[in-house]
C-alpha cells in the first residue's frame, strides 16, 4: 500500500540518524510541501490555458487555423528552433539535478558549476523564444488577428508560451540566487533543501514545456 505520510521523505529519515539535524529535516519537508502546493496552483493555471488552446484546436475553425500556422512556422522560424529550445530545457533540467547530486556529495564548486549552466541554458531559451516571437509576429501571427484567417489563434498561442517564458525568467533569477547562496557556503551535504526546492520548480517548468511542445507545436 502506498505510504501517504510526509515522514517517508528521505531527508527526514537520513537526518534522524544524525544528532541535531531534525530541524533541517523538518525544514526540508515543510519547504518541499510548500513548493508542491505552489506547483499545484501553477498546474491549475497552466492546465486551464492549455485546455483553452485544446478546445480551440479541436473546434471547427481551430484545426484549419492551426494547420495554417504550422505551415508558417515550418517556413520560418521552423520547428527546429523550438526543438533546440526543447533540448535546452531538457539539458538544463539535467544540469539542475546533477548540481543537486554534487551538493549531496558535499561538492559546492560542482553545485555552482551545474547551477550556472542551468541559468545560462535558461537565458538562451528565453532569447530564442524572443527570436521566435519576433519572427512569428512578422509573419502575421499577432495577439489579435481580427478579421483575417488567423483570428483567435494569437492569444491562445502566446498566453501559455509567454506565461511559461515568464516562469523560465523567474527560474533563471532563482538559479543565480542559489549559486550565490552556494558561493557563500550556505549549502552542504546535510543542508541542501534550498537547492532541492529550486529543483522542483525548475523541473516543473521543464514538464510544462514538454507538454506545450507536443500539444502546440507538434500535434
Amino acid at each position: 500500500m502506498t505510504d501517504m505520510s510526509l515522514e517517508k521523505a528521505p531527508v527526514a529519515a537520513e537526518a534522524a540518524h544524525g544528532h541535531g539535524h531534525d530541524h533541517f529535516a523538518e525544514r526540508s519537508n515543510n519547504l518541499k510541501l510548500a513548493m508542491w502546493l505552489l506547483l499545484a496552483s501553477e498546474v491549475v493555471i497552466f492546465a486551464t490555458i492549455i485546455s483553452v488552446y485544446v478546445v480551440f484546436r479541436v473546434g471547427p475553425d481551430g484545426s484549419k487555423v492551426v494547420e495554417q500556422v504550422h505551415e508558417i512556422i515550418r517556413e520560418w522560424p521552423g520547428i527546429w528552433l523550438v526543438t533546440i529550445n526543447t533540448f535546452l530545457l531538457l539539458t538544463s533540467s539535467w544540469c539542475m539535478v546533477m548540481g543537486l547530486r554534487e551538493i549531496q556529495r558535499d561538492n559546492r564548486q560542482g553545485l555552482i558549476r551545474w547551477i550556472m549552466a542551468t541559468a545560462v541554458l535558461g537565458i538562451v531559451f528565453v532569447a530564442l523564444q524572443y527570436v521566435e516571437y519576433t519572427e512569428l509576429s512578422h509573419n502575421g501571427i499577432a495577439l489579435f488577428n481580427q478579421g483575417n484567417e488567423l483570428d483567435g489563434f494569437g492569444m491562445r498561442f502566446y498566453a501559455p508560451t509567454a506565461f511559461h517564458g515568464a516562469h523560465v525568467i523567474v527560474g533563471v533569477l532563482w538559479a543565480l540566487f542559489v549559486a550565490w547562496n552556494a558561493k557563500r557556503g550556505n549549502y552542504s551535504a546535510k543542508n541542501y533543501a534550498g537547492v532541492e526546492v529550486f529543483g522542483l520548480y525548475w523541473h516543473f517548468v521543464d514538464v510544462v514545456w514538454i507538454v506545450l511542445f507536443t500539444v502546440i507545436y507538434l500535434v
Binding site: 496552483s41 492546465a47 485546455s51 539535478v97 546535510k190 507536443t214
Partner: protein
C-alpha cells in the same frame, strides 16, 4: 573501505553512492539522471520524426501525446524525486490535472454555435 564506514558515509552525504543507470536489468556506467536525460532526448527526436517525417496516420496524435506524458512522468518520477519522496506530493499534480481534464471534456460537449 569497511561496510560500517561506507554506510555511515552514505547516511552523512544523504544519497546512495551506487546510482548507476539500470535499464532492462542491465547496468550502465553513468548516473541515473544522465540515463533519464538520454531517454528524454531520444523520445523527443522520435516525437519530432513522428510529427515531421513519418506520414501521419490515425494513431500519430495519440502516440505523440502518450510519449509526451511519458516524458513528463520520467521528469516527475526521477528528477522531482517522486520515486523517493512521499506519494502525497503526486496529488498536487494529479488532482488539478484531473479537474481540468473534466472541465475540458465538459467544454468540448457544449455546442460551439447557438442555433
Amino acid at each position: 573501505m569497511s561496510d560500517e564506514k561506507h554506510n555511515a558515509e552514505s547516511h552523512d552525504s544523504g544519497h546512495d553512492h551506487n546510482d548507476n543507470f539500470k535499464l532492462f536489468g542491465r547496468e550502465f556506467p553513468l548516473p541515473v539522471y544522465t540515463g533519464v536525460f538520454i531517454i528524454l532526448g531520444i523520445v523527443t527526436l522520435f516525437e519530432l520524426a513522428l510529427a515531421e517525417i513519418i506520414p501521419r496516420g490515425g494513431l500519430t496524435v495519440p502516440l505523440m501525446l502518450i510519449l509526451s506524458i511519458g516524458k513528463a512522468a520520467l521528469v516527475v518520477w526521477f528528477y522531482m524525486h517522486l520515486n523517493k519522496d512521499s506519494r502525497i506530493f503526486a496529488a498536487a499534480l494529479i488532482i488539478p490535472v484531473v479537474m481540468v481534464l473534466i472541465t475540458t471534456w465538459f467544454l468540448t460537449i457544449v455546442p460551439t454555435f447557438a442555433y
